[in-house]
């Protein structure tokens, strides 16, 4: 940043973003576009909300796969495998002999530890298996059936989402919104270098957000194994439950919007390096900013609705 960027007498000139913003075609169009985006996300998030609120109370459970028929399983018991311990083969053998489960299914249970769930047991069987696993040096405890109408936050047996990670990621996106508005404010005062710097910061923060989301998707889709209450296949993919369908659709479309925003910001950033914008002509920066903030607002709501509630 050089002092040549700064306008000669900033204090005497009313800053453009404080003046009553005149309506320009670009601004009318971008707000209309945002209105259409509001309606688009209403379709997705509204569907999520009514699915979430109207889901029957036995849709998800700690012991059975989502959407399993639980009416006759009220007395079902299971065992939660907290740690496999030294004798993995022994543990697998004990589970297989107690439940008659096949090799692949047992392997999934072991992989999901510390939240591996063995189901299909009655009270006696659960007690015996817990004792047998304890003898083998594994950590295990018996669990009774607990149902809910939706995966509960902070419940690793039904909900695979990491709230800690995503809270940090939320704040990263909020920070990128702040740097974006600082970039707009800088160019409104004619400080071109400062504007480019803040645009770059926004770009980096937005890219970080996307990177974390890609990491999260990778973990969910194939990186980790989850217990049966989350997915019968061990991986959290769109088809395993209505929650998974909603999660991937809503966050996926938001992610696509962020990606589009990052591309737009990259173009704007290059434009700012080439000196395309000035205190009189900064429409592209402002419109990209409005879009970026909108994506941020959607995420704020989405984070609360999908992750926390």
């Amino acid at each position: 940043m050089t002092s040549a960027d700064a306008p000669p007498h900033p204090a005497h000139r009313p800053s453009a973003d404080a003046a009553p913003a005149p309506a320009t075609p670009g601004k009318v169009a971008i707000w209309l576009f945002l209105a259409t985006e509001i309606m688009f996300f209403t379709g997705l998030l509204g569907s999520y909300i009514v699915f979430r609120a109207g889901s029957p109370p036995t849709s998800y459970s700690n012991l059975y796969a989502p959407a399993a028929q639980l009416d006759r399983l009220k007395d079902a018991r299971g065992v939660v495998l907290g740690a496999v311990g030294p004798d993995a083969d022994g543990v697998a053998g004990a589970i297989a002999s107690a439940t008659g489960k096949g090799e692949a299914e047992v392997a999934r249970i072991l992989a999901a530890a510390p939240h591996g769930v063995v189901n299909g047991l009655d009270e006696k069987g659960a007690g015996e298996l817990t004792a047998a696993l304890g003898k083998l040096g594994a950590k295990a405890e018996a669990a009774s059936l607990r149902t809910s109408n939706w995966p509960r936050p902070y419940d690793p047996l039904t909900n695979p989402l990491s709230i800690d990670l995503t809270t940090v990621n939320t704040f990263i996106l909020i920070c990128s919104s702040a740097t974006m508005v600082l970039a707009v404010s800088a160019i409104q005062q004619g400080r071109k270098g400062r504007c480019s710097l803040f645009l770059l910061a926004t770009l980096v923060l937005g890219g970080t957000f996307l990177g974390v989301q890609v990491f999260e998707y990778h973990e969910l889709l194939e990186g980790r194994s989850y217990p049966i209450g989350i997915s019968p296949t061990g991986h959290f993919t769109p088809e395993v439950s209505l929650f998974a369908s909603c999660f991937f659709t809503v966050t996926g479309f938001h992610g696509l919007h962020v990606a589009a925003g990052v591309v737009t910001l990259a173009i704007v950033f290059l434009g700012s390096l080439l000196g395309r914008f000035s205190a009189q002509d900064f429409g592209a920066v402002e419109y990209a900013g409005l879009y970026w903030h909108f994506v941020d607002v959607v995420w704020i709501l989405l984070f609360t609705i999908v992750y926390l509630i």
């Binding site: 169009a29 439950s241 998974a244």
Partner: protein, 593 residues
């Protein structure tokens, strides 16, 4: 006004006629592709009618290459019938009427009528036309994929549409159908943002909102409807697409399995798609009728040589219809198992739409009342629009009443209703618009005699085709069945006779378009050169040359009054262009005009 922004017309034919950013060229592109698809959709309708009149009889000529199934002896496979009505409706609604009304008329008229040089975003405008082409491609390609095109109806209800095992057309045809609709939707969305911005920002000096012609008002409100409702359909189509391709569970109930297919996890609700679909598709029927109302208002006022009766109430009625249109979608779902409390709400809100609709009808009649009516082809079509809209509107009230709807739901009564609104309403409005603005668009005049022949036969055979649908529908004739004669009560001679009569009228209706096509193309090439203002009309597009120069106006016009000052007392002529000041002794009624 500085004309520094006026560039010369591009010389390169590619940027001049194909990838043009000129709103007039884009309008003509929309018009031509719409009319071509009109022929395709019409042909599909003919095959539908053939099957209904003479079930399972091989279709002359076409059956050989439409379905190559010698085992059936040339008769139509039943699922092909489903594909026919699905694609007929899809093409007519999403690729004919909406693109012609908003794409062609909207593009051509909005800048010219408000005195702008082009749309606010010419490149976006070009994009909104060319994004239709992937849509066209998906639509046409779906005829050639395994299983053929979609057969889930134009409404695409799950589970028939989402489960690939439900029907041959749900294999890949449905995916292509969804992609085609998404492309058309993006076109409409970008177009509507462009139209709204243009109307709000680029009006000529003096062109206040309440000096805009009704056509611009209607296109403006139509664009608002699309901007606010269409994204919801987009989200529903996206969810259906993901249900089909990514295995999501939005519209499948728990453990659903269709047609011996594997059970899905499910947990979603088929009814949700209906809600989201109709949240757009009820406003969509207004997208298809409001521009027609605007066109009819302008044509009727011009050829009655009288001010439009109640200009401001007409605008308010348009806005009321549009506003109410957002809270009535459930009237399509009375029979869906929807919560009965919602049914009553939607019934009441739907019936309220009769009020602004009646205001419009009374005002059109009031405009004609006592006028010196000139029965041009455009005027005849506009009058047909009004009368057909009355019939279609009244039969709509039947469906709005839940108890009556239970009797006539999914019968030919509703098929008759929709065709009275979409053919009797929108299509007559399109014809009125084409006859009225053809001289302005192409700079040549259409033949009035051929136009009247076209109108007369279209009107007669349109009535013959669609009127009896109400009667057979009331008699219990279901829609979407390939063979009514399997039912005892539909084998009654009267029903069979009416089905055959409707089919013959439908063929005649198709033939009645021949004079239009001849007239259109002959006039395009060899019609007499049109003057700037052949109809002696007031609005701004008639103040510039026919066809308008690149960038529309030599100098931006200055507007002094609304466009309906016909037969002003003391005036020299019976019309007063918007660019001429009012005579000093005239005061306007502040409420009505």
């Amino acid at each position: 006004m500085s004309d520094a922004h006026v560039h010369p017309r591009p010389r390169n034919p590619l940027t001049r006629y194909v990838f043009s950013t000129d709103h007039k060229v884009i309008a003509v592109q929309f018009l031509f592709s719409g009319l071509i698809f009109f022929a395709v959709g019409g042909l599909l309708a003919m095959i539908i009618r053939w099957q209904l009149a003479w079930p399972w009889r091989p279709v002359p000529i076409l059956s050989k290459w439409l379905w190559s199934a010698p085992a059936l002896g040339g008769q139509m496979p039943p699922e092909f019938y489903n594909k026919l009505f699905t694609m007929h409706a899809t093409i007519m609604i999403f690729f004919v009427i909406i693109p012609i009304l908003t794409g062609a008329f909207g593009n051509f008229l909005i800048p010219l009528m408000i005195g702008a040089r082009d749309m606010a975003f010419p490149k976006l405008n070009m994009f909104s036309y060319w994004i239709m082409w992937p849509g066209f491609a998906f639509l046409l390609a779906s005829f050639f994929v395994e299983g053929g095109p979609s057969e889930a109806g134009w409404t695409g209800y799950p589970p028939l549409s989402t489960d690939p095992h439900a029907a041959p057309g749900s294999l890949n045809g449905q995916t292509y159908w969804l992609l085609a609709l998404l492309c058309a939707g993006i076109s409409s969305l970008t177009g509507s943002i462009n139209y709204i911005t243009t109307v709000v920002m680029l009006r000529a000096p003096g062109m206040k909102m309440f000096r805009m012609p009704m056509t611009v008002w209607s296109l403006f409100i139509t664009a608002l409807l699309q901007a606010f409702a269409l994204p919801v359909l987009t989200s529903a189509l996206v969810m259906q697409l993901l249900d089909r391709t990514a295995g999501t569970n939005f519209f499948s109930p728990v453990g659903a399995s269709v047609g011996n297919g594997p059970a899905v996890t499910g947990g979603g609700a088929p009814l949700l798609f209906q809600h989201l679909f109709w949240f757009y598709s009820h406003p969509a029927v207004y997208v298809m009728i409001l521009p027609g109302m605007g066109i009819a208002s302008d044509v009727i006022s011009t050829f009655s040589r009288k001010p439009l009766f109640g200009y401001k109430p007409m605008v308010v009625a348009l806005a009321a219809i549009a506003g109410l249109g957002f809270i009535v979608w459930g009237h399509h779902m009375f029979q869906s198992g929807m919560n009965p409390a919602l049914g009553a709400t939607f019934m009441v809100s739907t019936m309220m739409i009769a009020l602004p609709s009646a205001i419009k009808v009374f005002n059109w009649i009031g405009t004609m009342w006592g006028g010196r009516i000139q029965y041009t082809s455009a005027m005849l079509n506009a009058m047909a629009f009004v009368s057909m809209f009355i019939i279609g509107g009244l039969s709509g009230i039947f469906m709005a009443a839940t108890p009556v709807d239970i009797h006539i739901h999914d019968t030919y009564f509703i098929v008759g209703h929709i065709h009275y609104v979409l053919f009797g309403g929108s299509t007559f409005a399109i014809f009125a618009g084409v006859y009225y603005w053809f001289p302005k668009i192409f700079g040549r005049t259409m033949n009035e005699g051929l136009g009247k022949v076209h109108f007369l036969f279209t009107f007669i055979f349109m009535t013959g085709t669609f009127l009896f649908m109400h009667i057979v529908g009331w008699h219990g004739h279901m829609r979407r069945i390939p063979d009514p004669t399997v039912y005892e009560f539909l084998r009654a001679p009267g029903v069979v006779w009416m089905n055959q009569f409707m089919t013959i009228c439908a063929f005649a209706l198709g033939l009645a378009q021949v004079p239009f096509v001849l007239n259109f193309f002959y006039s395009l090439v060899a019609g007499p050169k049109a003057e700037a203002n052949p109809w002696k009309a007031n609005s701004l597009e008639w103040t510039t040359a026919s066809p308008p120069p690149h960038y529309n106006f030599e100098d931006l016009p200055r507007v002094f009054h609304a466009p309906y000052e016909y037969s002003v007392p003391g005036g020299e002529e019976d019309y007063l262009p918007q660019t001429s000041p009012l005579p000093p002794n005239i005061t306007l009624d502040p409420v009505m005009a």
